[in-house]
Amino acid sequence: MSIIELKNVCYVYGKKTPYQINALENIDLRIEENCITGIIGHTGSGKSTLIQMLNGLMKPDSGEVIVDGENIWNKPKEISKIRYKVGMVMQYPEYQLFADTVGEDIAYGPKNMGLSNDEINHRIEESARFCGIDAQTLQKSPFDLSGGQKRRVALAGVMAMRPKILVLDEPAAGLDPRGRREILGGICEYRKQSGTTVIIVSHSMEDMAMYCDRLAVMSHGKLAMEGSCSEVFAQTEILKSAGLDVPEISNIISALRLKGVKISRNIYTVDGAFSAICDYVRRSKNG
């Protein structure tokens, strides 16, 4: 079942000025419940604008945004309720921290929701656990933490609102490989346990191939294609015209196939490639 539906959404920046840009053109997109959907696209393709439509930070010029069966702009005054339902972690969220302690910062969202103190404390604990923040860190000032830690705190701050849908804009940008794994792994784990629908924006094909169930490709403000990872990565031409590429490992697999190595073409992760190559070696030894 689709939990978010975009119908013919359009958005124009700088209307009626010489700098007019069509950021979104007739976007029709359904996001499946309980999935990790990746939104990929070149810089300036409209990814960030698209996700800001999902929680009502931006209002489409035309078209409908339907979340959980309801058009979010039916009652513009209650738009903040949509923001509790669709949690959004912006790019470089570490710059939004402001409170005296990490715990207080995580509590900001739940407090705005008007929850009781017990409930807030419970949620701080829970989301801190998912994000790998220990009890000691909760008492520290967020400004004393490292970049990766700060980002996890910001993530925990949104998770603590227990949104039905969690939208993340480049959650792993600028982190080292270990930081990337920790943050993306944590999000995966959180989704498994909480059943949240997750949407991730990124331009790292490798990360997307590893963590996403479905992919939507944006190009020049249009939806170029949408489908499962293997469906999308099979369309090399469309990806290239959108200024993107298949994951590095897929190129290696294609090169191997050209050399006559008989392995499947639908391999998009390093782990997948590893087991496929092991299989192939075993088979050729036995045969």
Partner: protein, 279 residues
Amino acid sequence: MDNIALGQYYEGNSVIHRLDPRSKLLFVIVFIVSIFVAKDIYAFAFLAAAVVLFVAVSRVPIRIILKGLKPLTIIIIFTAVLNMFWTTSDADPIFSVTIIPNFWTMTLHWKGLINAGILALRIILLLIGTTLFFSYTTTPIELTDGLEKGLAPLKKIKVPVHEFAMMMTIALRFIPTLVDETTKIMNAQKARGAEFSSGGLIKRAKALIPIIIPLFVSSFRRAEELATAMECRCYHGGNGRTRMKVLKMKARDYIFLLLSIAMLAGVILINIYANGYKL
């Protein structure tokens, strides 16, 4: 946050665009003096004609100039209305209303109306004249360059002219960046359920804390990064620094300055002849 009319440069290649920023600075000073010297309606008509002429020469669309005035309409109207009632004259008032007996009586005279009109015209001309020369036709960089070069003689008495100019350039350069950053942080906090436009005064002020603190933190970080980057490129102040674009006064600059003096002289002459005013 996207309707800030500060320092909007209007791309163009008119004579006014190409003038040396120093002559524009001098011109604006003379212009301001003329506006305050002007005493009656004829002098203002003369100045208004001059402003219209300059706008036409600069080829900046009237629409854009009027749009720049829009945010200040309330201030202009407010000052004009205040002045209207604060003017006294011996002639019979148009009307008078007693608001607090023996203490405050509001009276309106014809002279008050005229004064209010002149005041409004004065403010409008001042705004159009200065913004036309300072922001619509001059990039902020040109302007600070002009200031630095124009005030260079002050270096002899140890005024840190270069440092001031550099500070101004940096401040202007970072306005859009800060606006951008503010929008981003506001969106992030809105996504966490922040409300900026509802509740009482105290609640609203409190709601700003989650914006101001991150903004300060990132400004300090940016300042530090910028300082490091400048030092890495061997910046060490103004001494011995050369420029890519060297400012040079040309014939058109001198003609323009002569024009501005003619404008001031014109205003003084009108003042003297039209009403027999003495300076």
